[in-house]
């Protein structure tokens, strides 16, 4: 009996998720499941429960959390690019998983840190969904 092919799944971490619906549309249409989380804490929870993903798309500028405890004043300068910390956490748990950074940031020090973490791609917004689809699906296709 032929084993049913498992549907690919991406964890997409983006705090302005509503604004990138168009970017996700071709990927979703191609049959890939996209799970969206908007904060660093929410993404970390997904990692900690051991949920498996075929790829990760991470924005660099992320809120720590969205709850009553989360306040801008408690988020220090070291947390400016929480996306970098998140990539570190992802790579610690899923060293082989493709990680795509999708950002408006253009900071050489950040890019260097991301290169050290062996990020698959650093993609700059704005990007066409067709272009993103080609890059992303190219990495997770069987």
């Amino acid at each position: 009996m032929k084993k049913k092919r498992k549907r690919k799944k991406i964890l997409w971490v983006e705090d302005d998720a509503w604004a990138i619906q168009g970017l996700m549309l071709p990927i979703i249409h191609s049959g890939v499941e996209v799970e969206i989380v908007e904060t660093y804490t929410d993404a970390l929870e997904k990692l900690e429960i051991g949920e498996a993903f075929d790829a990760f798309v991470v924005d660099l500028i992320l809120p720590l959390a969205r709850d009553a405890e989360s306040d801008i004043s408690t988020q220090g300068e070291q947390d400016k690019y929480l996306g970098v910390s998140l990539v570190k956490e992802i790579k610690a748990r899923w060293p082989e998983a493709p990680v795509f950074v999708l950002t408006v940031v253009s900071d050489d020090a950040v890019f260097k840190a991301l290169a050290d973490l062996e990020v698959t791609h650093i993609l700059h917004k704005p990007i066409l969904p067709s272009e993103l689809q080609d890059i992303l699906l190219g990495m997770i296709r069987d």
Binding site: A17, W18, G22, L25, A68, D79, K80, P129
Partner: protein, 380 residues
């Protein structure tokens, strides 16, 4: 003498008479001489007296002269003393003048030193002012650069959305998009372009803050304007699982106000857009319209990150622009509330933070916009 002798002979013997006669004669002779001498003596006495008188007179004259001389001498002495006093006084005054001159010269020297110090201090101040101005210019340039960077970052979001949707519409057939999906995408493009326009308007008004703005007042429905803003943010709210709704205690009232509709739309959408932007999922944003005390009030409440009274004071009361930079929890240019405040104030209205209280779901934050219901002159 013979007569005398005859007379004597009558009484005396002749010899005695002769002797007596001689004797008498001699007496008489002596008497005459004596009288002569007396006369001479008297004349001499008179002469002496005259001389004495003359001398006395001379003496008197001399004495008088001497008296006059004494007085003149006294006078001269007095004058001399006076002159001496004057001279002394002048000498004293001269000494004082010399001292005063020396003091004045010392003061002048001191003043010159102070002047030099003041000139140096002034130079230093001028240098500090120049440095301060340069620093201020650097801060302003940095602030402007940061504002531009932040605006660019904010604009990239709708640009990304529009680009993606346009690309998807181009590939609609390949993606098998049904007409409803295509219409939804097209609507989203329009929506994003409207939001882009709002941000550009904010940037324009923000740059022009303090300068004259042109206001074109008309009568319009505040209820309709609220609906326009809600339509603009409803998709974002839905995507975040936030319920965005309008409440009106008088459903039949269109809440007509007088003002520049375009600018008040910008102000209202800034406040409502902020409420949606900073809301947590699973909460609601309510916009309530009411009339109270001759004014139209729009009360916008949301639950999310909240805003501290200090931040609010800086933004609303002091016209402070939120520190720029790419913060994690609150993206935005930070100029929305400031622009809203400016526009509402120009309509003789008020924008105020009523409360921001912590709840189980987050901070319940309530903003109130108060606009006069009657016609008001718009202050530039």
């Amino acid at each position: 003498m013979s007569d005398l002798l005859q007379l004597l002979k009558d009484f005396l013997p002749v010899e005695v008479a002769v002797i007596a006669a001689i004797f008498i004669y001699l007496l008489l002779l002596f008497k005459g001489i004596a009288e002569k001498f007396i006369s001479i003596a008297e004349r001499q006495t008179r002469l002496a007296e005259m001389q004495a008188k003359y001398l006395q007179e001379r003496l008197n004259v001399v004495e008088k002269t001497l008296g006059i001389s004494d007085r003149a001498f006294d006078l001269q002495e007095k004058q001399i003393r006076k002159l001496q006093e004057i001279t002394q006084q002048q000498q004293d005054e001269l000494a004082e003048s010399i001292m005063a001159k020396q003091v004045a010269e010392a003061r002048l020297t001191e003043a010159e030193e102070r002047y030099q110090e003041a000139v140096l201090a002034l130079d230093l101040k001028a240098q500090q002012v120049v440095e301060l101005q340069a620093a201020q210019t650097r801060v302003e340039l940095t602030s402007r650069a940061e504002a531009i960077a932040r605006l660019a970052h904010e604009l990239l979001l709708p640009v990304q959305s529009v680009m993606a949707d346009a690309d998807n519409l181009r590939a609609a057939e390949k993606l098998d998009l049904v007409p409803e999906e295509r219409a939804h995408i097209a609507k989203r493009i329009i929506n994003q372009m409207q939001r882009l326009a709002l941000q550009l308007q904010n940037a324009r008004v923000s740059v022009g803050i303090g300068e004259e703005e042109i206001y074109s007042p008309t009568n319009f429905s505040m209820y309709g304007l609220v609906q326009e803003c809600i339509n603009l943010f409803i998709d974002e709210a839905r995507a975040k699982q936030v319920i965005l709704q309008v409440e009106s205690i008088s459903p039949d009232d269109s809440f007509t106000v007088t003002g520049d509709k375009s600018k008040l739309r910008l102000a209202l959408c800034n406040v409502i857009g902020n409420a949606v932007k900073y809301s947590f999922g699973g909460t609601d944003v309510t916009v309530r319209i009411e009339r109270k005390d001759g004014s139209t009030r729009v009360i916008v409440a949301n639950t999310g990150l909240g805003i501290s009274s200090e931040e609010m004071e800086k933004i609303i009361e002091l016209g402070y622009r939120v520190p720029l930079g790419l913060d994690r929890s609150r993206t935005g240019t930070g100029m929305g509330l400031l622009v809203a405040k400016q526009i509402i104030s120009a309509h003789s209205g008020q924008l105020q933070l009523l409360s921001s209280e912590r709840t189980n779901q987050g901070y319940r934050t309530v903003f109130e916009i108060v606009l006069p219901s009657t016609h008001q002159e718009i202050s530039q």
